[in-house]
Each structure stands twice: as structure tokens, then as C-alpha cells.
């Protein structure tokens, strides 16, 4: 049996669900950014997820497990972060105003990410420096792990963290993307 539900009705429900504050997470896909397709998720507390090359099914399960089962694609709650990302990719934004939602992360991760948030557009830092700023200069490897599990890359700029020798080292979204972002910011040539 195929019933046709008009796209307008579908969108109306999705917008109403968000407007009534009934969602644990609203998400949407950005299929065509300069660094490929992204999945964005927001909660009432801010941007909780940016994923490269998302596999939606797995992402939804993960978001539901972390934030609650009311995970729904709904475009409007994402307007703000979508706009800021567009501006960023166009080279017209150097600083994000949307808040990252990192409430659920362990305290250490939050501390490291708070330091990371201070690294400015077009600059880089090292894992060791970030480790020292977060309280333990010997924890460079742990900082690397925190970067790898950063739930909101780009907004929390883990691409600006490089190895002590200046090598790009690693990136959850792939080194190509890290390089692309740093080039966009003029941090490398």
C-alpha cells in the first residue's frame, strides 16, 4: 500500500515538533559543503553533533542513545548553525556564535575542548600545548583522543591542533579535510 503524504505536510509536522519543544535532537543533512556531506544535530543546549560522511542510521541510534529517543530530522532548528557554517566556508566568518553542547562529555574532555575553543581562526596549536593548558603537559596523547572524539568539529576547531613537528598528524574527518580547513583559514599555504 502506498499512500502519498505531501512533502508540505511532512515538513509541517517536522517544524511543529521542533516548535513545540518536543525533540531531544533535531538534525539535518548538509549534502554539499566544500568538505563533503555533513550531518548536523542540535539540542536545546546547542550544537551537539557534526559528522563527516554520515551514515544516518548509525548516527540516529547514537544520538538517541546519548540524548533521548526523540531524534527527528527538522530543518528549522538548524538554521543558525547552517548559516554560520555557510559563512565560514565562504571565508566570511572567523568565529562561531552557536554554542556547542558538550554537557554529556567527561569533565576532562570538556576542559580540553574549552581550551581548544580559545585557539583562534587561522592559528594552530599543538597537542602538547593544549595538554599543558588543560593541566597536564604529559597528556598529549590523551588530548589527541579527545580531539578524535570531538562531537562538534569545525565549531570546536580541532583541525587547528597539529603535531609538535608541525605535521598535521590526524583528523577524524581525514587529513585531507584538516588541510582544506587550515588552508581556508590561511593557516597553511
Amino acid at each position: 500500500m502506498t499512500e502519498t503524504l505531501s512533502p508540505a505536510l511532512d515538513e509541517r509536522f517536522r517544524a511543529a515538533a521542533a516548535a513545540e519543544g518536543l525533540l531531544d535532537v533535531a538534525y539535518d543533512l548538509l549534502p554539499d559543503t566544500p568538505i563533503g556531506s555533513l550531518l548536523l544535530g542540535v539540542t536545546d543546549h546547542g550544537v551537539c553533533r557534526i559528522t563527516f560522511d554520515p551514515e544516518p542510521e548509525r548516527e540516529l541510534e547514537e544520538l538517541a542513545r546519548l540524548f533521548g529517543p526523540r531524534v527527528l530530522r527538522s530543518s528549522r532548528p538548524l538554521d543558525r548553525v547552517r548559516l554560520e557554517l555557510d559563512e565560514y566556508f565562504a571565508g566570511r566568518r572567523r568565529h562561531f556564535e552557536v554554542e556547542p553542547d558538550v554537557r554529556l562529555l567527561p569533565a576532562y574532555n570538556r576542559r580540553v575542548l574549552a581550551e581548544l575553543a580559545q585557539v583562534e581562526y587561522g592559528h594552530t596549536t599543538t597537542y602538547g600545548t593544549l595538554a599543558a593548558q588543560s593541566g597536564n603537559p604529559r597528556a598529549a596523547r590523551a588530548v589527541g583522543t579527545v580531539m578524535h572524539h570531538n562531537p562538534v568539529p569545525i565549531v570546536l576547531p580541532c583541525h587547528r591542533v597539529v603535531g609538535a613537528n608541525g605535521k598535521l598528524t590526524g583528523y577524524a574527518g581525514g587529513l585531507g579535510r584538516k588541510e582544506q580547513l587550515l588552508r581556508l583559514e590561511g593557516a597553511i599555504l
Binding site: 540516529l60 544520538l63 538517541a64 529517543p69 526523540r70
Partner: protein, 151 residues
């Protein structure tokens, strides 16, 4: 182990078409649109309280039926005749629906949910806001009434 409650998106995508079809046949296209939104908003409000992910299809159809009943009650209260939809292209089980147009709302809901959608009497009881026994009784009263009309 109980089936986990799926993310709402998965649930919504799986059942939206059937729920809309159900409502459209009961209410006509226009009223079905509002009822559709109300059905899934109610489901969304109740969703965090679900303890497992079983019988979600029956669950959402019961919510939809309850909304149809509420609308019928409201329009009776306002002295209006309930508007009944007549649409073509029904699937086989919906051949039942036009036959049931003349039944009282509760009996009609019970008959359609039982014989059209294959729900259990416990689920239908939920839908009607009453008991399993009352649902069984409403369905059999509906069937008796239909038989009488056929003669």
C-alpha cells in the same frame, strides 16, 4: 530481550504513510492533514515513556483512531454530521471501510482496526480508551449490525 525503542525518525518514517492513509480514508484529505500532525505530536509526547519498541505500528494506529473518535465526538457535540470520506483506490482490506460507514464510531473503529488492520482486542481497547472486553464487544456488535444491514 525487549526490542529497543527506535529513534523517533525511524518510527515516523516507518509508519507515516499508513497512518496518513488510515486517517485520509476516515476523515477525507483535508481533515486528515490536521489529524496526521496531531497523531504524531501525541506520539512524540508519549514517546519517552515507552518501555520497549514492540507493537509500535498498533500503538500509533490506536492514537490515530482515538483522534478520529475525538473528532467524531466533537462534531456530534456541535450537532454537525460527521463527514465521511469517500475515496477510491482502497487496498483490499479497506473494502471493509465503506461497509462500515453507517456504524456508530466506536463499533466502526473496532471493526476496522480488527478486520482491516489486524490489531488485537487489547490494542483496540487502548485505542478506544476502554477495555479489551469492551473492544471485543464493540467489534462483534458492529459485525452483527453489518450482517443485519446486508440482509
Amino acid at each position: 530481550m525487549a526490542v529497543a525503542v527506535p529513534p523517533f525518525e525511524t518510527f515516523y518514517e516507518a509508519h507515516q504513510a499508513e497512518v496518513f492513509g488510515f486517517l485520509r480514508r476516515r476523515l477525507g484529505h483535508e481533515r486528515a492533514e490536521d489529524a496526521f500532525q496531531e497523531t504524531f505530536l501525541r506520539a512524540l509526547r508519549a514517546y519517552p515513556r515507552l518501555e520497549h519498541g514492540e507493537h509500535l505500528r498498533a500503538w500509533v494506529l490506536t492514537i490515530a483512531s482515538r483522534i478520529v473518535l475525538d473528532l467524531a465526538r466533537r462534531s456530534r457535540a456541535q450537532g454537525a454530521m460527521p463527514e465521511l470520506a469517500a475515496e477510491d483506490g482502497r487496498p483490499a482490506f479497506e473494502e471493509l471501510a465503506p461497509l462500515t460507514d453507517g456504524l456508530p464510531p466506536k463499533e466502526r473503529a473496532a471493526v476496522v482496526l480488527r478486520y482491516g488492520y489486524g490489531l488485537g482486542y487489547d490494542e483496540i481497547g487502548d485505542a478506544l480508551g476502554s477495555t479489551e472486553a469492551a473492544a471485543r464487544q464493540a467489534a462483534s456488535a458492529g459485525v452483527r449490525r453489518l450482517r443485519k444491514e446486508q440482509q
